[in-house]
Amino acid sequence: MELLISLIIGLLTAVGVFLVLRGRTFPIVLGLTVLSYAVNLFIFSAGRLVMDGAAVLNSGLATPDPVPQALVLTAIVIGFAMTAFAVILAIRARADLGNDHVDGRLPEQSGEQK
């Protein structure tokens, strides 16, 4: 099971990084979202994997590490705020600059662009 989660984290990181490296805003926002899934899962897995439990006392269940869970819970909410901010910034940039490239201008076709 640990191997599966590691693979998921690795895959999500790779997809996130690739999308973040694109030139247009929307794929980058998607990339940030995917990257934050990966990061959240990574921090969460720092508490090690525990099945059939809950971080609730007296529940008769196994108790996982609550600290990473608390960290990730706020990270998810803040992550949403960040995504929202990035999205609005992208919309505003397109409205003001007339294109949706992160550099604020379209790359020249001749190709100094990567």
Partner: protein, 930 residues
């Protein structure tokens, strides 16, 4: 006796006294300015008898105890000597400047800067802590910059100031590095400790670096060759500044530093070579150049450089007697050079020029001033019966008594005599060219004697030259002894201050210097012709050129690295992440730990496959934005299932509700952004990015695997043990959020609120890009809101609110809490927006979301502050159990009120973001839809 702190403090207050005198007369301004330094001088004098008896005083108080720093002042013999010079000459300069400055000059500003400089200088000489010393050191550079550029309408003043600041500032940085290294070696920045640990420093392998860095600081400040060129350009300053900073005090700061650290740094061959040879070069270059300067102040500037070189040379000789001679020459040079500068200022003031080719025969017009200037100039030349003679004699004797250069040791006394010859020659030129030598040529003004009081400072200083020269034993023996003793940190060897030591070698050298000087001056015409063959090197132009070169290359590098492409920065950033993570990864051998692995089941595999496929779909079809978005939302759902599977119900609930709002947000965003991404990337860069992404993904997977399979020691036990007893809740995650780490949560909801407000501002007044049709040119549907959805969502709203209330209330003990409840409420309300439209909601809901955010933050903050009322720290929580008839036993906790704040902030921020964006799409729709 008042505390030592008062000495720099009084002068510092004096800065503000000067600034506040803009309304009063010029004389009153000068008196007010002089009052506080005079008081400081009185304090110093009250200490003087004990210090002269060999005592030293240290006062300290803690500054940054954690870094081992303290503010500490120290008054010993050497510091006393400098303090007297700084305050004494400073007061004379204040008096002098009253008459020197013209009506147009802003006198309070001038005095304020002068006193600021005085404070900085006092700080240097009184500092017990080296870092503190350095701070004052930099302050002198800055106040010197301000003073040189006092006439800032003149280009040469601005350029000279900039050059002085650049050179001394660079030296200051080197000095700081040197001081930090000293601190590292000694383990303390206190001068007392550093001076006591000289052997440790000299034995340390850092010693060469320390020495070079500290000397760089000292040499730049004291205008030693090859850094001497800034000093002549600093002469663009008003003459009182030149007299004070650039001859008597500031340029002596470098000398002071070398002398102060003498017990810690001197005594090695490296010290001898660096300091002596630099001093020798400076001595010769300065003396030679001084002769050829036509500008009166230029001559004095180069002569100052030469004398600073002489003192440096003495300090470099590693002999105690030489150090005594250096101390003595510091006193003498300060007195005669300050008076010479003042005399030059008087001549400039009364004739309107400083060009020695025009100035001649002034003896007839201003005999009094001429008399004073001549005595001072003779002291500079080292003529018997004046103070300059005594220290110069000691200097000659010392150059004879050293043998560090082996068989070439004769070279020092010979070159010293050569410098003496030139020194006599330029002094003669100062006297003869200016006061005799025929009639003045084309003077702008007819010269006459200056105001009475302008001469008083010169008279006092010249009298000192005389008195010291005739009766040194009476006047300076005491202070010289105590200064030299504290410089050396040991007893001084025997020396005699007598004028007559019998016929000996030093006397012969003085004699040769006198005769040679007269000879050189007599043949000056030929010499000037010889010198005129050399092209004049303009230090300013060279300096400017070098600065320009540095700026140009910096701009070039800057332009290459920062070309304005965010995409490229991201790539470089990720590339460096990859570099920094892969290298240590190669050293990670033990990537599989001892922790037993969990069994894999079928459902997990299926879920993983769905996730992998969706992730790959996102990757492959990322240019088809709608498809990519749907795929991403599938990934998010699986992630929340993972949280649920591995014992994190709170996270699963949060992820699920955030997923909903995120997808709605991105759908709204797609309305304003292109539906597809244009193909722009070159195949090579796609391959590069894929490679980079795979590398980082691989690193992350490996780290995760290594981490998850290793057993863990966590701080979790504390939280689990104290959750119920300390926080009153059984849901540990929630108790951590609202209680143990409540302050973090408070910060987080504040960020959330700020993000919401920031988005609100970004949306406001946005120039809308209004799409009227989709990708295929089909106009947007103008259907009304679907009836089924509208009806069902309205029925769902109370139910959803009830659920969120339930989740909120149970959050302290079971999965749930403010964050999740807030998100559920937000989703329920957003559903109403989607189903019924913005206008429908606006008619029915009076909720102001900005207001909701603030209320939420205020509630959370007030709950935290409430604990102050009971004398507990911020955000201490309280809980107790109550029972009501009909309800039963229940718990009340202050943490729940805090959670309410979280709840409200989350709702406010989410709806502020989505509501406003949604409203935009409504208004952006084509007109015919209404």
């Amino acid at each position: 006796m008042l505390n030592l702190f008062w000495i720099p403090l009084l002068t510092l207050i004096g800065v503000f006294v000067s600034l506040s005198t803009s309304k009063v007369s010029r004389t009153a301004c000068a008196y007010a300015t002089a009052a506080l330094p005079a008081a400081a001088l009185a304090i110093v004098i009250s200490y003087a008898p004990s210090v002269l008896n060999g005592e030293s005083f240290v006062e300290r108080f803690e500054w940054i105890p954690a870094a081992g720093l303290e503010v500490a002042f120290r008054l010993d013999g050497f510091a006393l000597l400098f303090t007297l010079l700084i305050l004494g000459i400073g007061l004379l300069v204040i008096l002098y400047a009253r008459y020197y400055l013209s009506e147009q000059d802003n006198m309070p500003r001038f005095y304020a800067m002068l006193i600021l400089f005085m404070t900085a200088m006092l700080g240097i000489v009184l500092s017990e802590n080296l870092i503190q010393l350095w701070l004052f050191w930099e302050l002198t550079s800055i106040s010197s910059f301000l003073l040189i550029s006092f006439w800032n309408h003149k280009s040469e003043a601005r350029k000279g100031a900039r050059m002085a600041l650049t050179i001394t500032g660079m030296g200051g940085l080197a000095l700081f590095a040197g001081i930090l290294l000293i601190g590292q070696v000694v383990g303390s920045y206190n001068l007392t400790d550093v001076l006591a640990q000289g052997d440790l420093i000299r034995g340390s392998e850092l010693y060469p670096y320390i020495l070079v860095l500290v000397l760089l600081g000292a040499f730049t400040k004291s205008a030693q060759f090859p850094f001497h060129f800034w000093l002549p350009h600093a002469m663009a300053a008003p003459t009182p500044v030149s007299a004070y900073l650039h001859s008597a005090t500031m340029v002596k700061a470098g000398i002071f530093l070398m002398a102060r650290l003498y017990p810690a740094l001197a005594g090695t061959d490296m010290w001898f070579l660096l300091v002596t040879l630099t001093g020798l070069a400076t001595l010769l270059v300065g003396a030679y150049m001084a002769l050829f300067k036509h500008d009166l102040k230029g001559l004095l500037a180069y002569s100052t450089i030469s004398h600073l070189g002489l003192i440096t040379l003495l300090l470099g000789l590693n002999s105690k007697l030489a150090a005594v001679a250096a101390t003595f020459h510091i006193i003498n040079h300060a007195t005669f050079k300050a008076s010479l500068f003042m005399a030059a200022g008087i001549i400039d003031h009364e004739t309107g020029t400083r060009d020695m080719r025009k100035l001649s025969g002034l003896w007839r017009y201003m005999p009094h001033t001429a008399m004073l200037a001549m005595v001072a100039a003779l002291a500079m030349a080292g003529v018997p019966l004046l103070n300059g003679f005594l220290s110069k004699e000691m200097f000659f004797a010392e150059t004879l008594h050293q043998g560090s250069l082996g068989a070439l040791s004769w070279i020092l006394p010979v070159l010293a005599t050569v410098a003496g010859i030139f020194s006599v020659a330029y002094s003669l030129r100062f006297i003869h060219d200016v006061f005799f030598n025929g009639e003045p040529v084309n003077l702008p003004k007819t010269p006459h004697e200056p105001p009475r009081y302008m001469k008083i400072p010169v008279e006092i200083l010249v009298a000192l030259c005389f008195v010291v020269g005739i009766a040194p034993g009476l006047v300076v023996a005491g202070i010289l002894h105590s200064a030299a003793t504290s410089l050396l940190q040991s007893d001084t060897p025997y020396y005699s201050l007598a004028i007559w030591h019998g016929f000996n070698f030093p006397l012969l050298m003085s004699f040769i210097a006198l005769l040679g000087g007269i000879l050189v001056y007599a043949t000056r015409k030929q010499l000037f012709e010889f010198q005129s063959q050399f092209p004049e090197r303009d230090a300013k132009a060279i300096f400017d050129q070098n600065i320009k070169r540095i700026v140009d290359s910096a701009t070039r590098i800057y332009g290459t690295i920062e070309n304005g492409s965010l995409q490229r920065y991201t790539m470089l950033f990720i590339l460096s992440v990859a570099l920094f993570t892969t290298v240590p990864m190669t050293k990670l051998i033990d990537y599989e730990g001892a922790r037993p692995l969990l069994p894999v089941d079928g459902i997990s595999i299926v879920a993983t496959i769905i996730l992998v496929v969706s992730a790959l779909v996102t990757l492959i079809w990322h240019r088809k934005r709608m498809i990519a978005l749907i795929a991403v939302s599938v990934v998010g759902l699986i992630v929340s299932l993972i949280f649920a599977r591995f014992s994190a119900p709170d996270l699963a609930l949060t992820q699920l509700s955030v997923e909903v709002v995120t997808v709605i947000l991105l759908m709204l965003a797609l309305f304003f952004l292109p539906q597809v991404t244009a193909k722009a990337a070159k195949p090579s860069s796609v391959v590069r990015d894929l490679g980079l992404a795979t590398l980082i993904g691989g690193v992350m997977a490996t780290i995760s695997y290594a981490m998850m399979t290793h057993p863990q020691t966590s701080i979790a036990d504390f939280f689990i043990a104290n959750s119920k007893t300390g926080g009153g809740g059984t849901n540990v995650v929630n108790v951590i959020l609202v209680d143990f780490r409540g302050f973090d949560t408070f910060g987080e909801i504040t960020v959330l609120g700020i993000a919401g407000l920031g988005i609100y501002k970004l949306i406001a007044r946005m120039k809308l890009f209004m799409p009227s049709a989709d990708l295929n040119g089909i106009p947007w549907s103008n259907d009304h809101h679907p009836m089924m959805l509208a009806t069902v969502s309205r029925a769902l709203l109370p139910l959803a609110l009830l659920v969120s209330a339930y989740i909120f209330l149970r959050g302290h003990n079971l999965p749930g809490g403010g964050f999740i409840a807030g998100l559920v409420t937000a989703v329920a309300l957003i559903l109403q927006y989607i189903a019924n439209g913005v206008d429908f909601m606006r008619e029915r809901s009076r909720l102001n979301y900005q207001w909701l955010i603030s209320v939420g933050l205020i509630i959370a903050g007030m709950t935290g502050m409430g604990s102050w009322l009971f004398g507990y720290p911020f955000l201490s929580s309280w809980f107790d159990y109550f029972s009501l008839p009909g309800v039963g036993k229940f718990e009340l906790a202050s943490a729940m009120v805090f959670d309410l704040g979280v709840y409200l902030t989350v709702i406010g921020s989410t709806l502020l973001i989505l509501g406003n964006l949604g409203a935009l799409t409504t208004h952006a729709r084509p007109e015919e839809s209404k």
